[in-house]
């Protein structure tokens, strides 16, 4: 029963990725960058890849993980991908106020637009204190490759 459930979960995720999901394109970038880093370090076999996901972009972690698992080949084949999420912290350049991005304050179409191009946050988000759209994303924008470890 449990095996069947896992099978259907994977199938569902696969269909999600196959039918749409631009996370796949980001996963391809992560694989390419991790592979480049491994070559640079002379790693024969990569064991761990650490990735940071900023919450502003609202990347679906499960979908990204699934895409990574499907895309890893060569020296990355046995690699484990560890993903850490970081809250998106925004700082107003006009008044200095700092706040944390909360997607629940926006409607679905705005969140989706930010999901594809996080910079359009400047269209939909204003400083809660002074109303300025001129803010800085201090941290938590998108996908970062933190480290690539393995065996030489």
């Amino acid at each position: 029963m449990k095996v069947r459930l896992i099978f259907y979960d994977i199938l569902k995720l696969g269909l999600q990725v196959g039918s749409c999901m631009h996370e796949w394109a980001l996963a391809e970038a992560v694989i390419s960058a991790a592979s480049e880093a491994a070559d640079k370090e002379g790693l024969r076999r990569v064991t761990d890849v650490r990735i940071r996901l900023g919450e502003l972009q609202q990347v679906e972690q499960e979908v990204l993980e699934f895409a990574l698992s499907q895309l890893k080949t060569g020296q990355l084949k046995g690699a484990r991908f560890k993903i850490e999420k970081v809250k998106a912290r925004l700082k107003c350049r006009a008044c200095g106020y700092t706040w944390v991005f909360n997607e629940k304050e926006l409607d679905e179409s705005m969140v989706e637009a930010i999901h594809f191009v996080p910079e359009v946050a400047h269209v939909y988000i204003k400083c809660p204190q002074c109303g300025s759209p001129d803010f800085e994303v201090v941290e938590g924008r998108g996908v970062w490759l933190l480290s690539v470890r393995g065996v030489k």
Binding site: M21, V117, E119, L145
Partner: protein
């Protein structure tokens, strides 16, 4: 900590034969109109053409083309929709017609994000409508896309040409190819821009007289392609119409 996105850009653009950035030192010289018209002419010739509006803070190609309610498809990335025979990409799919106030680093990030997620597939030409000047978008393209070619548009004004000199000097300094210079909105017989272009060692592609009809063709590509402006764009770029010749 590394940005993984830049690692995939060559892969994303490998199916494109020629990438042409329509640039200029100043705003208001007709870059977007020229880029859109050139893309439409190439598509009409039977080439597979993409048009990418990189003027994120002041996009206008969607108005020139009269783009309706279309959106990219999400398919392991972003697939640009077909608009008047072009594979067309613009930030307005995500920003709508709202003001998009972006600082330099944001422009850079949005550009790299879109280059990472957009899957153009096979194209004969990708035409880039550039923002004016030598700011972040230009510097990023030079840094990230080594095989890009620049086509410079200017007006007859000396103010505009002074900025062309700066752009040309930057591009020469970093070894980026310049296809040539177009003098747009010409109203006199002056040969000054032609001579100055040649003095810079660049090809003068031609002059396009100021055309009053163009404004009435905004949003109507059939009408636009029928203007004297479009005919001159076609004539002045006839030498670059071959997708394999660089």
């Amino acid at each position: 900590m590394a940005d993984p996105r830049t690692s995939i850009l060559d892969e994303r653009l490998k199916g494109i034969s020629r990438i042409i950035a329509v640039s200029g030192g100043k705003g208001g010289v007709g870059k977007s109109l020229f880029a859109s018209t050139l893309a439409l002419i190439l598509a009409k010739k039977g080439f597979k053409v993409g048009l990418f509006d990189l003027d994120f803070t002041s996009p206008s190609t969607h108005t020139i083309l009269g783009v309706g309610d279309v959106h990219p498809k999400e398919e392991k990335g972003i697939i640009p929709p077909q608009v008047h025979g072009l594979e067309y990409m613009t930030i307005t799919y995500y920003s709508g017609n709202s003001a998009t106030p972006l600082r330099g680093a944001d422009v850079s990030n949005a550009l790299i994000e879109l280059l990472t997620i957009v899957k153009w597939g096979r194209l004969d030409y990708l035409i880039l409508d550039m923002p004016p000047g030598i700011g972040d978008a230009t510097l990023d393209l030079i840094r990230l896309i080594k095989r890009i070619e620049f086509l410079i548009v200017t007006s007859p004004s000396q103010l505009a040409f002074e900025t062309v000199k700066k752009l040309a000097s930057l591009l020469k300094g970093v070894g980026m190819p310049v296809i040539g210079v177009i003098e747009n909105m010409k109203m006199t017989q002056s040969k000054t821009v032609r001579k100055q272009t040649e003095a810079l060692g660049l090809v003068f592609l031609g002059e396009i007289p100021y055309d009053r009809e163009v404004e009435g063709a905004m949003g109507r590509t059939d009408k636009l392609l029928d203007t004297a402006f479009a005919k001159k764009v076609k004539l002045s770029t006839s030498k670059i119409l071959n997708p394999t010749v660089r």
